[in-house]
Structures are given as structure tokens and as C-alpha cells.
Assembly symmetry: C2
Homo-oligomer: 215 residues x 2
DNA sequence: GTCTATACTAAGATAGAC
DNA sequence: GTCTATCTTAGTATAGAC
């Protein structure tokens, strides 16, 4: 059994440490991180409890000591992603300055959140709505999209953003560009600040040189 | 059995029509379209043959008359997506004109392809590499990404594209913006030309007004 | 081209010992 | 906190009748 247990359960020497700080075997947090990694590698639905057990180096049934179900693992992960993104939106609401400054703050904040919570955000962005847990998370995410759309509309009226594009398309394409991070960002290859600079530059000013050549 | 068969199998009156044109029951093409729709709704792995059977209005076993396996359905769909995208790349290779003109051609071609073959492209973009079929399709797609990256590098040397962003980031973010279409494009809400215009505008020139306001 | 019936395998989850 | 053993359900796929 247990074909590819790469990770040895971090058995603790120092127990008796006020309940949820030590880690005799796994605690819920460390277990969650391993599971989310496997979810993202194969997709949530393609991941069986057996595969999780293999990655954890324990048996299927041992997982149920930490969580009630596979869905609870998903729920815990999605909550982390959503609460992190909520904080970004809250920060954006309170921001002041020019349109560009406020937009830049939002973009950079979102990118930081996506990078720092990448495993959880990845899971969030790939939901299909197959369970109540997924549906609720998708609703929370949808609310953020709508809020950004309203923000774009406002910025257009204020005159900071071009008005030849609909708020819908501005929103969807902007999120599309940023969210693609979960599909290709790798800490070894990509510097977070450089990535954020590139996203801001592309979104604000595009990729062509102002004095475009005519060959 | 068969709880929500919305689609009645299109039983044909006019048979004997040269093998693969008529449709007594389903032919492979019409069956594929229904199945791919279900795959995209729930995700490939979360879709069982039973769900396909329900959507088709036939039984599970009847599906095996048309295809050897669930994986063959996936393979047929991915082939359609990839061959369509291959044609876009081929067209881009032969294009002439300014950097902007050639870039615009590529963007518009890709967007047309994504929209016109949306179900198949959607499936392609969501692969996790869980089977040989998926891995091979991902390789073909990766080749296209690399080709675009080389194109960006070339355009930077020629002077048409800003050089403060790496080809990698230009490529990934551009594809991210465009590919997001599969997640939100809806024919009833979005006009294809308007969507393409918006993508070109954002990618080439960004979203801010040239004469940005300082409030 | 589709059906019923069924073989076979793996899934998520639980009980109770250690 | 993890184990073995097991329950139950659902999965893909096949055989053979109509």
C-alpha cells in the first residue's frame, strides 16, 4: 500500500504544547497544505482520498481524524482564499489618489494575494459548482467581480479609464490576465515585484511602444 | 433511470444516406457535442458516463457503441481544439505588416478560434495531465506558448514592443487575458467583434486614457 | 443504435483496535 | 493519531438480446 509517500508525517517530540501548536503526526493546517497541493496537481475531482493518503504518508481513514470529509478540506481551502481576497477588496475600498494609483493598488494587492495564497486561490478559480461548498464560494467570488465592474464604471465616468470598452470586458479581461498567474507563476522563475510591475504596465499602458514602428 | 433527459435522440427517418451523413440515433459528432457540454459544466473528471447518458437520453452502454471510452471523447474534443489553434498559428507565421498589425491578426485569430470552438478549447485549457491523452494535448499547447514567446522576443528586438517586460510575462499575461474568454464569454451577452476589439485595445494600449486625470 | 444485466474496480466514509 | 477491516455506493466497461 501507499506507493509514493514522499512526505513523512512530522512526528513530534515536543507534545503537550497547548493543544493546537505542536504537531504529533499532522495538525489540520499542515495536512491541509499537502492535500491542497495534490488537489491542484490532479484537480479536485480527480483526487481520491487514497491519493491524499499516499501523499501524506498515512492511510485514508487517518485523514478522517482531521476532517469530516473531502469536502471539508475544500471548504477550508476556499475560505482561506476568499478571506484573503476580501481583505484586498476592503483595502481597495478605502484607497485614495488618482485613478491610476487606486487601480495600481488593487492590481498589486490582488497579485500579492494570488501569489501568497496561490494553492488556495488556484482551487478557487477552478471550481465548477459541483457541490454546495463550491457554489457558495463561487457566489462570494462573483460578488467581487461585480464590485470591480462597478469600480470600472465609476472610473470611466470620472474620466480616468477609456470609455470605448465596456465595464464588463474591462473587468473580465483584467481578472483574466491577473488570475492566469495561478496557471504559470513559479516562485523560482518569477519575481513577485517584477510580475506585478508587468501586469500593471500591460493593463495600464499596453504592450506596444508609444512610438510604434511601421517597419 | 435517466432523470433529466432534455435531449431526445434525433432518430432519423432518412437513413441509407452514405454512411456518415444521416443520424439514426446519434452520430459521433452530435454525441460528442453533447458530451463536451457536460464535461465543461461539471469538469471532465466529475462527469460520469451515467451523467453523459442522462444528457444524451440514452443508456451508458449505448455510448460505447460510438466511442471506445470516456478518454476517446476527450481525445476527439482536444484534437478539434488543437487543430483549430494550429491553423491560427500557421496563419500568424505567414502574416506580414507592422508589429501591431501582425499582433492584432494573431489576437483576433485566437479569439475567433476560442469563441468558435469554445467547448473544445475550454476542455483543453482545463487539463491537469491525468492521462496520456491529456499529457499529449498539453505538450502540443505548450509548443504554441513557446512559439508566441519567441515571437514577442523578436518583436522586442525589432522595436515594436516595449522591452521592460520579459517575453515570458508578455506571453503568459497575453494568453491569460485571451484565454479567460472560456470562463465568461457568452454569445447572448458578448459580441465577438466587440470582444476582439476590447482585447486588442487592452493588450496594445492598456485601459487608461492617454491624458490620465489627476482628479 | 439502443437496451438490460452484470462484471469488476475504486470511490468516500465508518467502527473499533492499538 | 494512525491502523486494519469493512460497508455502501458509484464508477467504467462488456456481453448479448432486440
Amino acid at each position: 500500500m501507499r506507493k509514493e509517500s514522499t512526505m513523512t508525517p512530522p512526528v513530534g517530540q515536543d507534545r503537550e504544547q497547548a493543544a493546537r501548536r505542536g504537531r504529533p503526526g499532522y495538525d489540520q493546517e499542515s495536512l491541509l497544505m499537502v492535500c491542497v497541493g495534490v488537489f491542484n496537481e490532479h484537480g479536485f475531482d480527480a483526487t481520491s482520498m487514497g491519493m491524499l493518503a499516499d501523499a501524506l504518508g498515512i492511510t485514508k481513514s487517518a485523514i478522517y481524524h482531521h476532517v469530516k470529509s473531502k469536502d471539508e478540506l475544500l471548504s477550508l481551502s476556499l475560505d482561506r482564499a476568499l478571506s484573503r481576497l476580501d481583505r484586498v477588496m476592503e483595502q481597495a475600498r478605502q484607497a485614495e489618489g488618482t485613478t491610476r494609483e487606486r487601480f495600481e493598488l488593487l492590481v498589486r494587492g490582488t497579485i500579492r494575494a494570488v501569489i501568497e495564497e496561490k494553492p488556495h486561490v488556484t482551487l478557487l478559480l477552478r471550481l465548477r459548482g459541483n457541490s454546495p461548498v463550491e457554489l457558495e464560494a463561487m457566489n462570494r467570488r462573483r460578488a467581487m467581480t461585480r464590485e470591480l465592474e462597478a469600480r470600472f464604471e465609476h472610473a470611466q465616468r470620472e474620466g480616468g479609464v477609456r470609455t470605448d470598452l465596456s465595464p464588463r470586458h474591462l473587468t473580465r479581461f483584467s481578472f483574466g490576465l491577473i488570475n492566469s498567474l495561478v496557471e504559470w507563476y513559479r516562485p523560482e522563475r518569477d519575481d513577485p515585484d517584477q510580475v506585478a510591475d508587468a501586469a500593471v504596465a500591460m493593463l495600464c499602458d499596453g504592450i506596444l511602444l508609444p512610438n510604434g514602428n511601421d517597419e
